[in-house]
Point group: C2
Chain length 432, copies 2
Amino acid sequence: MSEPEAAGDNVNNEENNPPESKTENKNEEEQPEPPKEMKAVVLAGFGGLKSVKVMNKPQPAVGEGEILIRVKACGLNFLDVMVRQGVIDSPPKTPFILGFECAGEVEGVGEGVTDVKVGDRVAALTEYKAWAELVSVPAKYVYSLPQGMEFQNAASMLMNYVVAYILVFDIGNIRSGQSVLVHSAGGGVGQAISQLCKTVSDVTLIGTASKHKHESIKDSFAHLLDHGVDYVQEIKKLSPEGVDIVLDCLYGDDANKGYNLLKPLGRYILYGSGNIVTGETKSFFSLAKSWWQVDKINPMKLFDENRSVSGFQLRHLLYQQGAHEYVRGVVNKVFKMWENGHIKPVVDSTWAFEDVPEAMQKLHDRKNVGKIILDPNMEPKPKPKLQTKGSKDKDKEKEKDGKAVGETAAGESTDAEKENKEGDSSAPSSAN
Amino acid sequence: MSEPEAAGDNVNNEENNPPESKTENKNEEEQPEPPKEMKAVVLAGFGGLKSVKVMNKPQPAVGEGEILIRVKACGLNFLDVMVRQGVIDSPPKTPFILGFECAGEVEGVGEGVTDVKVGDRVAALTEYKAWAELVSVPAKYVYSLPQGMEFQNAASMLMNYVVAYILVFDIGNIRSGQSVLVHSAGGGVGQAISQLCKTVSDVTLIGTASKHKHESIKDSFAHLLDHGVDYVQEIKKLSPEGVDIVLDCLYGDDANKGYNLLKPLGRYILYGSGNIVTGETKSFFSLAKSWWQVDKINPMKLFDENRSVSGFQLRHLLYQQGAHEYVRGVVNKVFKMWENGHIKPVVDSTWAFEDVPEAMQKLHDRKNVGKIILDPNMEPKPKPKLQTKGSKDKDKEKEKDGKAVGETAAGESTDAEKENKEGDSSAPSSAN
């Protein structure tokens, strides 16, 4: 919203104080005392990458019905980038600890918790606060891991596969012989969608992704299209009747395009957050533009055309709408599919807390293939000492904090610009 | 659209010429010659019941890829009432033979037809022309009957159960533990929906229907509500979270009510035609009002609320959108369920062609419980000779043709008025 404020309490300068120096001394009591601290990834204010700080924060207490988890792996999602930019509804007050999913070991259980015990291996869908060494989570959002599932596997599967499962099966109701268009085919959800669709016979998968990703995901999709080109024409060449399901995380003009690509009885499903996150601080404008671009639909038009339009947002479902029992059922089904070898999460890369800005940039630039994982115990990348920011600074709104991002991310943001431009060029004149 | 024109060729005065006098003499050749005639239910012009005439028409020729069916039973649907009133898009020119479904014996096959042979027992979803002694139908709309299925069974199942199956399973994607709200619960589709839902464990069925029907359909629905009362409040009492699926054939204000009753991940599905057909000639106004009353939906609102909105119309799907292979698959599944004893069509009543106006009035007034069947070989009801129209004529737009309707229908239209008024009283102030 505004520029990041001065970061709050307990700020660690992540460059001078490597994480080893943190004051962690837990091995006495399960109930952590106020002075005990933990490392956490904190959003100091809504905005760019420099608002993301690694800090020491008080260890959480375990409330009634809660489970304290010693975090071993966290998932990074587009939702986190949206939160950072403040483009979600009712965001919490900054500063707060980021992160919506993690996996780890149970370190304590609150009153009334009977399903898990200390030492159990679990994963959790938390409402913020997951990117920390410890997190206390209401038991309703905590799921026991199947035997043999590593923490990284769990953190890479939980949100992506739950979202993908609900999209593909419960909302999409995919059936044998049908076709699916998936945007951001190379991302974590895109990869999960592909794997879940492949558990159904004779499903045709069409994905859009940046050209540079095509080689690495070519086995996941029957047809890969560059989102920058006129993918609607390409799809009409592949399948003149259109597709049965469109899974759209992009909004805006892609919503109308996707709707118009539907076969009779086709389902257009809007989920996730892609197009909203286009620039580092242009987000509110983008959001408004997306709302404006998406055509409103009279249900009687759907009646005329035999079509469905759906929206899906896990965060609302779980935390505002109270569907935790339903989500637990989906988690169980996903874990069962993993146990049966039907699905296998793709991990793009693993990052230290200190390197979250770079990891976020990679996600933002859609450079990842599969899931981006954070590991609280991982050593951060060595930071280069040269403070020159490189050559590209024509876009004032681009991330400029060389300290957090480093030279690799700076090089990547050039590609990001290119990609954004490509995306824009595919939009018709209604874009301005 | 306009007042019924003078009826076309071969008009039979159904009162003076009972059907026995029709010139039917088929037992020589399969290929009918021009002079051969058959009895058919013809719409002479769009409008009220008096536009519906029983006439002699030339027997149809069997074109390439067509199947000539000797009709034994026809289904009457709300769609037929809409057609009569002219409230469908691209209606054919009057006069034409009414009717969208029938069952009977194959009397001839055109060139290229290999799947059925003369003498086979079949059912068909025809684009008009089904209400006749003979109809020639493209083979793609003809379905072989399972052994033991009577023609009346077939005619009562075909359209209703195909519609219900697609609504409940393919669009609604119903699952164990879910709840469904069905309007017009006592009609043919309502009864089919109930039976199909009951093949899934632990589904809660809530139906709205006129009070006088509740007793006869009380076994089909867990909860029956009077559509005339504030059913939204009643449902919220039964299930404060709402329902998972709303199957709405009423449009207008019921669409908004239905949408707002949805649970998270709920599906609102608009189908059929109920509210449009409210008065005998008020239909265009009703249609416009329905369009206006239904809130337009931004897909991003669906995203916020985790909801789906769908529309379904079998006629478009089958005849305009070419989904005959898909529909054949559904017919096969429905027939298989019948063979397995999972479903059993409910027949409300069977009528002679000459009594179609009275049968239509019964459907219009929602007096039927289950399917209304027409039988080309049935004797018409004896008509009373008294021509006094009874006492009720304050509504000029009500059916006034005593010749076609008879005194029973006149009595029923009084109830119909009452019901319409009740329906209106349940609408909020947005109705004007």
